[in-house]
Symmetry: D2
Subunit: 95 residues, 4 copies
């Protein structure tokens, strides 16, 4: 049996966003192969990075509103641990 996570309810949404990022990364690959001007490649890398950040934010929002909210209702050590974990994940994207 599969586990049920924060994003399970909109997995197809998440994969759609991710496919956009994958398409942009492929675009970067093609541009480098074709010797596209550096600045134009950089613009594309920037778009791919932003697309991945959107995937991260969607995952994080699902995680907070699902796993963290569930843990908060139960309280105690599990809740504290979930919050610490979420804060660390956020820190990795902010730093």
């Amino acid at each position: 049996m599969e586990e049920h996570h924060g994003y399970s309810d909109h997995k197809s949404d998440l994969l759609k966003r991710l496919r956009r990022a994958e398409g942009q990364v492929r675009g970067v690959h093609r541009m480098i192969e074709e010797d596209t001007y550096c600045i134009d490649v950089l613009t594309q890398v920037s778009a791919a990075t932003k697309a991945l950040e959107k995937v991260a934010l969607a995952l994080l929002e699902d995680h907070l509103s699902h796993c963290v909210a569930t843990a908060a209702k139960e309280g105690g050590d599990v809740a504290a641990e979930k919050l610490r974990e979420a804060s660390q994940a956020i820190a990795r994207f902010v730093g």
Copy 2:
């Protein structure tokens, strides 16, 4: 009567972190006044930015473990709104 927020319990910790950031921003000011070499000023600006990001992460962690956790226990529209608000605040730092 003052409101009680996520960070109320470690306000002095938070102000201590913030004072570090303020000290680093003052350092940037002094370095520019004294015509310090650009790269060294940039290193100092980077330190000030990282110090501010740490203030943000501390605030966010307090907010999640306090306001959001409280709202999650109550559930409903208020919880959903708090989560949306927190996600937007995170997005402003990640973007």
Copy 3:
């Protein structure tokens, strides 16, 4: 005839770095498909983002040391334009 850009001399290095990013993005895809725990997916998204940032920095370094340096030697409007362009590209990654 292909144009010669900043990264032409180490195109294979750049594509190698990019393939690492592509592998990590594929990892994210697989993890979502397999309902991996949100926080672990986020760690993988973060690794993919960092890998793309390394591609960007390598591109930028090549661009500065090649196109911008060449334009600087010539001076004038072209040099000023190249510098403005590079600064804008940097701003997109810092903002």
Copy 4:
């Protein structure tokens, strides 16, 4: 005698930008002292961070168009070293 750096010609511009950042950091301080709602403090921290990033970008642009351009004209090891240094400074803001 003071050294002449990339930003010497618009030092007053740079200090003006910096004062904006300093004002915003003071705003964060006041808001925490006054127990302002976490999310509103975070919005202010985000504004302060963005203001500092603008100072960094202005410094970097001046540095590239002045010190790096001068070194590029001369070429050789000094130019290579200046470029490496600038790339590392950029990396600290992108990472």
